[in-house]
């Protein structure tokens, strides 16, 4: 299926190396429009502008965690359907369940491969397309 490679993506992680790697991998997949944030707290006002078609976020960040960012997105009527992918070292079963309950679209545990990232993105946007067809 055709994913819009022109979409605006927000990459959120408190480690700059990680943001760099994620962007690099997304570029390899054909995406080109990225913004970065180093915390859920800096990301949130950016997200509220409504600019982003896709959010890729870490969980463990000092001011606002990724899971709280996700919850804020899902609570906002204008933003609630924004595709949201967590890429994180948090790997406890209870945490994965919590993320699922909070409405995450995909969950990747670190360390991860380019193939996994590609696969999850495909899956997320397939479901987005299905949802849109249904509406």
């Amino acid at each position: 299926m055709q994913i819009n490679r022109d979409m605006n993506i927000l990459v959120v992680d408190d480690f700059s190396t990680m943001r760099r790697i994620v962007k690099n991998l997304l570029k390899e997949l054909g995406f080109s429009k990225f913004d970065e944030a180093d915390d859920g707290a800096t990301a949130w006002p950016m997200v509220q502008t409504g600019k982003y078609d896709f959010i890729v976020s870490d969980w463990n960040m000092p001011e606002m965690t990724g899971i709280d960012l996700l919850r804020n997105v899902r609570k906002d009527p204008n933003l609630k359907d924004t595709p949201f992918l967590l890429i994180t070292a948090e790997a406890k079963r209870s945490q994965i369940l919590e993320a699922a309950q909070a409405g995450v679209d995909g969950y990747i545990v670190k360390p991860f491969t380019a193939a996994t990232l590609n696969e999850k993105i495909q899956k997320i946007f397939e479901r987005v397309a299905e949802r849109q067809k249904a509406n």
């Binding site: 969980w59 463990n60 960040m61 965690t65 990724g66 899971i67 994180t88 070292a89 948090e90 790997a91 406890k92 079963r93 209870s94 945490q95 994965i96 369940l97 919590e98 699922a100 995450v104 679209d105 969950y107 990747i108 545990v109 670190k110 991860f112 996994t116």
Partner: protein, 215 residues
């Protein structure tokens, strides 16, 4: 310390007299009296300190010294070991890949390439060399980490001694109570033996779990 105020001046004068007159028996007696007083006061002070210490160490709250000694210090060492292992692994991967790039570049036949292409390949080769050189950080950081681990080990031993000396049984320190707050905020990679419990070990496990939830 107010001890000097309690030293009996008269006794000291008598001691001097006894010494001057060569009365060894009397000198000994007076010296014993004076030092006994001092010892008693020191003993009282020491008792007090030990009691305070015992009380402080009695605390079995999550952040207490005993809990930190038994769980947090070994945990910290285990994490530093992980850092060493992980950075070593990453360095070796980087080296292997950079070396492979160099081999590939070296094996391209020069005759089929334009001047421009040859120059580009030389630059690429140099970049690969820079990647190789950059991995040398691993040696320095490894040494630093080893030193920190030594310091932590030493600190742990000192604290265990302290705990034992205060009359506590180190082995009887109970398990820590787990808190859910930490999981909410995030605890980082699960790299110690104990934190690997209840954690998934691969993306496949994550996928299975989410599949079972219909996601």
């Amino acid at each position: 310390m107010g001890l000097s105020a309690n030293i009996n001046r008269e006794a000291v004068e008598q001691l001097l007299q006894a010494i001057d007159s060569g009365d060894q028996a009397r000198s000994s007696e007076l010296l014993d009296e004076l030092t006994q007083l001092r010892e008693q006061e020191l003993y009282q002070k020491l008792s007090q300190i030990t009691d305070n210490l015992h009380q402080t160490l009695d605390d079995l709250g999550d952040d207490s010294l005993m809990m930190q000694t038994k769980y947090d210090l070994p945990d910290a060492s285990e994490r530093l070991q992980y850092v060493m292992d992980a950075t070593l692994e990453a360095s070796e991967k980087s080296l292997a890949n950079a070396e492979q790039i160099q081999n590939l570049l070296d094996n391209l036949p020069d005759e089929t390439l334009t001047q421009e292409q040859q120059e580009a390949l030389k630059l690429a080769h140099d970049n690969a060399t820079q990647i190789i050189l950059a991995q040398s950080f691993q040696d320095l950081t490894g040494q630093v980490l080893k030193r920190v681990m030594l310091i932590l080990g030493s600190l742990e031993n000192s604290l265990i001694d302290l705990i034992q000396q205060s009359g506590h049984d180190y082995d009887a320190i109970p398990q820590r109570k787990k808190s859910n707050e930490d999981l909410e905020h995030g605890i980082g990679p699960n790299v110690t033996k104990s934190s690997k419990q209840d954690a998934v070990s691969s993306q496949d496990d994550v996928d299975d779990l989410l599949d079972s939830l219909g996601i």
